[in-house]
């Protein structure tokens, strides 16, 4: 798959800049995003950490090919997304049903923790591709065009996954928690 750099890319940094920068600092800057995508997708903290570490090892081997900070961000999201799908296909081919979906691994702090836990559980029960689309849209705040680039998917498919997933999530969360919540 060809690596397309999103149009939003701005701060250009040279190959030498990346090579000379402290890799530990790069890891610290992006670890939360990579780990969170893996965690939301796999719903397993240790598996998510293992996968995130693999992503950064791959990044270390490919540092010289990344042309800018935005390119690196794009690359990390793309590699994480693809590794998540590969991981799931290798480990567990069956789709997780809502009842089987694990509880969120870490506690969340919000105005409605019950709703958030329910939503996390529902997102974890989505099929692989729609789940990734929802995670990239709402966790990483990515535009559908960029999600289409990262997942090498037509834009119409991304939008369709988003619409269907939102409709399903709304219906299920309303049924589970009542009209007042959403």
């Amino acid at each position: 798959m060809a690596e397309r750099i999103p149009a939003e890319q701005s701060a250009e940094i040279s190959e030498n800049d990346i090579a000379d920068s402290d890799f530990a600092e790069i890891v610290r800057r992006h670890q939360s995003a990579v780990f969170s995508i893996a965690l939301r997708f796999l719903a397993d903290r240790s598996a998510a950490e293992e996968l995130a570490q693999d992503v950064f090892l791959q990044l270390h081997a490919n540092l010289s090919t990344l042309k800018s900070e935005d390119h690196m961000k794009f690359w990390l999201r793309k590699v994480t997304a693809h590794r998540c799908i590969d991981y799931k296909r290798r480990r567990k081919p069956l789709q997780v049903s809502l009842d089987e979906a694990p509880e969120p691994a870490a506690p969340v702090h919000s105005s409605d923790p019950l709703l958030e836990r329910k939503l996390q559980q529902l997102v974890a029960s989505l099929p692989e591709k729609p789940r990734l689309v929802v995670i990239l849209r709402y966790q990483e705040d990515m535009h559908p065009e960029d999600i289409a680039d990262v997942l090498a998917m037509p834009l119409a498919t991304v939008k369709s996954h988003l619409q269907r997933s939102l409709a399903m999530l709304r219906e299920k969360v309303t049924r589970a928690m009542g009209e007042v919540t959403i």
């Binding site: 890799f23 530990a24 890891v27 610290r28 670890q31 939360s32 995003a33 990579v34 780990f35 969170s36 965690l39 939301r40 903290r45 950490e49 995130a52 570490q53 950064f56 090892l57 270390h60 691994a105 870490a106 969340v108 919000s110 105005s111 409605d112 709703l115 958030e116 836990r117 939503l119 996390q120 997102v123 929802v134 995670i135 849209r137 709402y138 966790q139 705040d141 939102l166 999530l169 709304r170 969360v173 919540t181 959403i182």
Partner: protein, 130 residues
């Protein structure tokens, strides 16, 4: 449901999802563990060197070039084989021709000596009669 209500619902759903899917902090010591694995990988014997020449062939242009080289070598080999075979056949034909010429020469020599012998006999007989 009115359009305004639907938009409001979408917005609430978006907010709820953004809250639910907030980024999580990576576990403590995550970066250190990554760096340790990088260091471990750098210390481990590098298998890249072993298969680096094989990796060279993963590039499409190199694969095509290698295929073209193999095809060229095969065509050249067939051509050389044909030239050698034709040369050997020519040599054999030449040998057969030389042999045939030698046989023909011998036969001619034999016929000539017979004719000479007959002429000599005729001359002798004529002298005897005279």
């Amino acid at each position: 449901m009115t359009r305004m209500n639907m938009d409001k619902d979408d917005s609430r759903m978006d907010d709820a999802l953004r809250n639910a899917l907030r980024r999580q902090e990576a576990p403590d010591g995550f970066a250190d563990r990554v760096l340790a694995r990088v260091a471990q990988q750098n210390l481990a014997p590098n298998p890249v060197r072993h298969d680096s020449w094989l990796r060279f062939f993963t590039q499409p242009i190199v694969r095509w070039a290698a295929l073209a080289a193999v095809a060229g070598a095969m065509i050249l080999g067939v051509h050389v084989y044909q030239v050698r075979r034709e040369r050997a056949e020519g040599e054999a034909a030449k040998q057969r021709l030389m042999l045939a010429l030698r046989i023909a020469g011998t036969k001619l020599q034999l016929a000539k000596s017979k004719v000479n012998e007959m002429n000599a006999n005729q001359t002798t007989n004529r002298h005897v009669k005279e």
